[in-house]
Symmetry: C2
Subunit: 191 residues, 2 copies
DNA sequence: CCCATTTTGGATCGTTCAGTCCATAACGTG
DNA sequence: CACGTTATGGACTGAACGATCCAAAATGGG
């Protein structure tokens, strides 16, 4: 009868996610991962085949969680589109204080984008899902007259996510909500 | 009589700048720096006291060059403000093809921001210079009626740089100019 | 109680890391 | 030609890296 595992795999991936999110892939050592997860290196290598495999798992976990949360906001047809966009942008201005600074996806694109095509593919597909959802929501808002029909819905959606990216970068150097509020307001003028 | 140095210090810093800009601080080894600069490790350690010292020099060089170029555009009073902002944003959409992807400053903020306060201070000061210059330019444009006087000039300037940051992130995953053009157009609606 | 299987702790491996060391090279002066 | 000084090439150091190994632990069934 095998020895029962004493840790929760999802909990370990979550802890690793936060370590990678904070420091980045290269600067997070296997010892850091042991410390963050509370596991020995044999347990880590027994469960995940490599540091890189754990990183991929962590990134997918982040994408699943945060994309689901964002889609929920985007697709809430009971809320005016302007308020939905405001809420999305505000998550970058006033994030959950227990979370590391910025966005794990943005950090990874910047750190690994030029050399890890597989990771970029994964994140591009995720981005496409969110972009399509927001474009659809904007088109629906254009149909009801909430948003100017002359505007390109897909371009507007790309614009919102670009601003979001910029806000996430600002969060990495601890820009204050006060200084970023004007950015949200300026962005919302398109809605 | 001492042996004459056979390399150009600025050229070496420039080469190192491109290596760090491409891969980031952690993922650029001292061997990578030797390869990029064409120098031996004794020459590098003889001239720069450490890898980190060379990184700081490279970052300052980037900041000096690109800030000077940006200020030149921002402060050209012969050009309408809208066109000046368009030019700034366009440098991220269609950068010099020989340059690494994205922006060395943005990459560094994301990679090192949470743990290197000195680097953040340096980059915040640089950011403040550009922000002040653009705010002053926007205020001048408001005085001539080019820009709506009701708008907060500093907020508008912060907004432009945030969008620029987002465009730089998109460049790290090779987003096409076509997809980013709509972002520039949407941003310019505030001008 | 023994067994087979899986998990765990932590020592260890081979490689790479940033940085140092040492012998040699390149000068112009005396 | 020798000297003193600085630069250079590349071998080397000690530490850290990601990953592997091995002994011990933890189980339930027979």
């Amino acid at each position: 009868m095998p020895r029962p595992r004493t840790f929760d795999e999802d909990g370990a991936v979550d802890a690793a996610m936060r370590a990678f999110w904070t420091a980045g892939y290269e600067a997070t050592s296997t010892q850091d991962l042991c410390d963050a997860t509370g596991l020995g290196r044999s347990s880590i290598y027994n469960t995940f085949s490599s540091k890189r495999d754990l990183f991929d798992r962590a990134l997918r976990r982040y994408v699943d969680q945060f994309t689901a949360a964002q889609l929920e906001v985007i697709q809430d047809a009971d809320v005016p589109i302007r308020e939905r966009v405001r809420r999305i942008l505000w998550t970058a201005v006033e994030p959950d204080p227990v979370d590391p600074a910025g966005c794990f996806v943005i950090n990874t694109i910047v750190e690994l984008g030029p050399k890890e095509a597989e990771i970029v593919d994964l994140l591009d597909r995720d981005h496409e899902v969110k972009l399509t959802a927001l474009t659809t929501a904007i088109e629906a808002a254009q149909a009801t007259g909430e948003v100017d029909s002359e505007q390109d819905a897909a371009g507007l959606a790309t614009y919102v996510f670009t601003v979001l990216g910029g806000l996430r970068v600002a969060a990495r150097r601890n820009a204050t909500p006060e200084s970023q509020q004007a950015v949200v307001e300026a962005t919302l003028r398109s809605f």
